[in-house]
């Protein structure tokens, strides 16, 4: 019993130390990327295209819908649609919270899982060994462009999601209250503070890095059997969600400390 527990602890520590070493290498290689851009540039462009551009439709639909729903539900509360507080609530809920988090969940489900599956399949078909055999480290060639591409895409998609979320809310609000959309927008901009923008941008980049690093790690951790790929993909999705929620909490705390 004690021996099994000890072995389990030793294995977990070993895995943790391997994961930490992997992430360190991934970030070190990210800084070296500029020097090797000719080889990895195409992968980077494709990643931005897949993660960013191809996710635009689903993000716009979700953000518009959620923005509208917040107003429709909120309208049932007395005085919700009246006064300046509406704009602060929308900015805090949509721009600082839901925008980045919702985008992260979509990206985890859509691109994070795809990255783990693709890399895992490449391990199984010995394509990673083929990279090594020509002197290219597969983490540099495949992991780094995905990390950079996903971080850029997450940032752009979060901005896009915020715009659509706020637009959806204000459009529905102007229909209900008969206040012109332009007036709503100018009041919204007047209630935007620097901390709102910084918090949203910080979250988008941090979430992007977390999702990419986790997906890449689990993709590379497939050791050879095709049956491992779905297992690692599911684990990658779960861990990404948990880490994003933890990071969200930390950024909220930091924001509160800064604004206090």
């Amino acid at each position: 019993m004690v021996e099994t527990f000890g072995r389990h602890i030793r294995q977990s520590l070993g895995q943790l130390s391997y994961a930490a070493g992997f992430q360190l290498f991934l970030f070190k290689e990210t800084f070296n990327f500029l020097g090797k851009r000719r080889i990895g540039l195409r992968v980077l462009i494709l990643q931005i295209l897949f993660t960013g551009v191809e996710a635009l439709s689903i993000i716009s639909l979700l953000s518009l819908g959620i923005g509208a729903v917040i107003i429709i539900q909120g309208a049932q509360l007395p005085d919700f649609l009246l006064g300046e507080q509406l704009y602060r609530i929308l900015i805090i809920v949509i721009a600082r919270e839901l925008g980045p988090l919702l985008t992260a969940f979509v990206i985890i489900a859509r691109s994070g899982s795809a990255i783990t599956t693709e890399l895992g399949n490449m391990v199984v078909s010995h394509e990673m060994e083929a990279y090594l055999s020509v002197g290219i480290h597969p983490v540099s060639q495949l992991g780094v462009p995905r990390l950079i591409g996903m971080s850029i895409s997450m940032f752009l998609l979060t901005v896009y999601s915020n715009v659509f979320g706020l637009l959806g809310s204000l459009t529905v609000s102007s229909i209900i209250t008969r206040v012109r959309l332009a007036d709503h927008l100018s009041a919204l901009f007047a209630n935007f503070y620097l901390v709102d923008i910084v918090a949203s941008i910080a979250k988008s980049f941090v979430f992007g890095i977390i999702i990419a690093a986790t997906s890449v790690y689990y993709g590379f951790s497939v050791s050879g059997a095709i049956t491992e790929v779905p297992v690692k993909t599911i684990r990658s999705i779960g861990v990404s969600i948990v880490l994003c929620v933890i990071a969200d909490g930390i950024i909220i705390l930091l924001t509160m400390l800064v604004t206090a």
Binding site: R38, S125, V134, G135
Partner: protein
């Protein structure tokens, strides 16, 4: 120049507790060709991958020109790989790249400043060398496995490596393809390349190998000149030799 460019020193690799290579020590001579033969699962591919620095042993060491591969820096490792070529058993072409890109990448890895014109020229020349009339923009999935194996061989050899690892090169190949491949490998042999082959093909090893290493359950059970090993009446060797195609 060191006469023994690759040394496996007491190498052990385990899978799920079972030793796939068990304290194996081997030396590969420069300019010579060595065939590693044995039944399926005897560890032939592992020997090649260890020797090529694609996987690292749990115990023991692999030396390339006297330097431990495990302790090499990134640059040194790249330089080593630029001097070697590996032909994979299952082709292992990059599925999301075109055939042309599969051949270009080793060249770009060795020389990132190579012009597109020079790159295309070398790729076209490589296809022509085996009379392979394929559209370079095709993806690997669009061609047969035999053709993939041939393109994989071209990828391994496009940088004219000094050391060539051939992991069951003739599998999936038709008769004409096999003959063409053997002729190309002989050209490399004649040019002085060090060739390390994993195979269970008698004709392939007989035609190319100066020396044969016989593996069984991850251990070396015999080693020596081809004729000497093949004519051995050692009871431990006979089942392995009988399994050769």
């Amino acid at each position: 120049m060191i006469d023994v460019p690759i040394v496996l020193d007491d190498v052990t690799i385990r899978f799920d507790g079972r030793a796939a290579l068990d304290g194996l020590s081997l030396e590969f001579q420069r300019g010579k060709s060595t065939a590693v033969i044995g039944s399926s699962g005897s560890g032939k591919s592992l020997v090649l991958k260890c020797a090529a620095g694609l996987i690292f042993p749990e115990e023991g060491d692999v030396l390339f020109e006297g330097r431990s591969i495990a302790t090499m820096g990134e640059r040194e490792y790249q330089q080593m790989q630029a001097r070697t070529g590996f032909h994979f058993q299952d082709a292992a072409l990059w599925a999301n790249k075109s055939l042309g890109e599969n051949l270009s990448l080793p060249l770009l890895a060795a020389d990132p400043d190579l012009s597109d014109y020079a790159l295309h020229g070398k790729v076209a020349e490589s296809f022509a060398s085996v009379k392979l009339e394929l559209d370079p923009s095709l993806r690997p999935a669009a061609i047969s496995m035999g053709q993939q194996k041939m393109v994989s061989f071209l990828r391994a050899t496009i940088s004219r490596p000094e050391i060539l690892f051939l992991d069951d090169s003739l599998s999936f190949m038709d008769h004409a393809g096999s003959r063409q491949l053997m002729a190309r490998i002989e050209e490399f042999k004649d040019a002085g390349a060090t060739i390390i082959i994993a195979t269970h093909n008698r004709e392939f090893s007989g035609r190319l190998a100066d020396r044969v290493v016989v593996l069984s359950d991850g251990r070396m059970v015999a080693s020596g000149p081809y004729q000497e090993v093949m004519s051995s009446q050692d009871p431990a060797l006979l089942p392995v030799l009988r399994d050769l195609v």
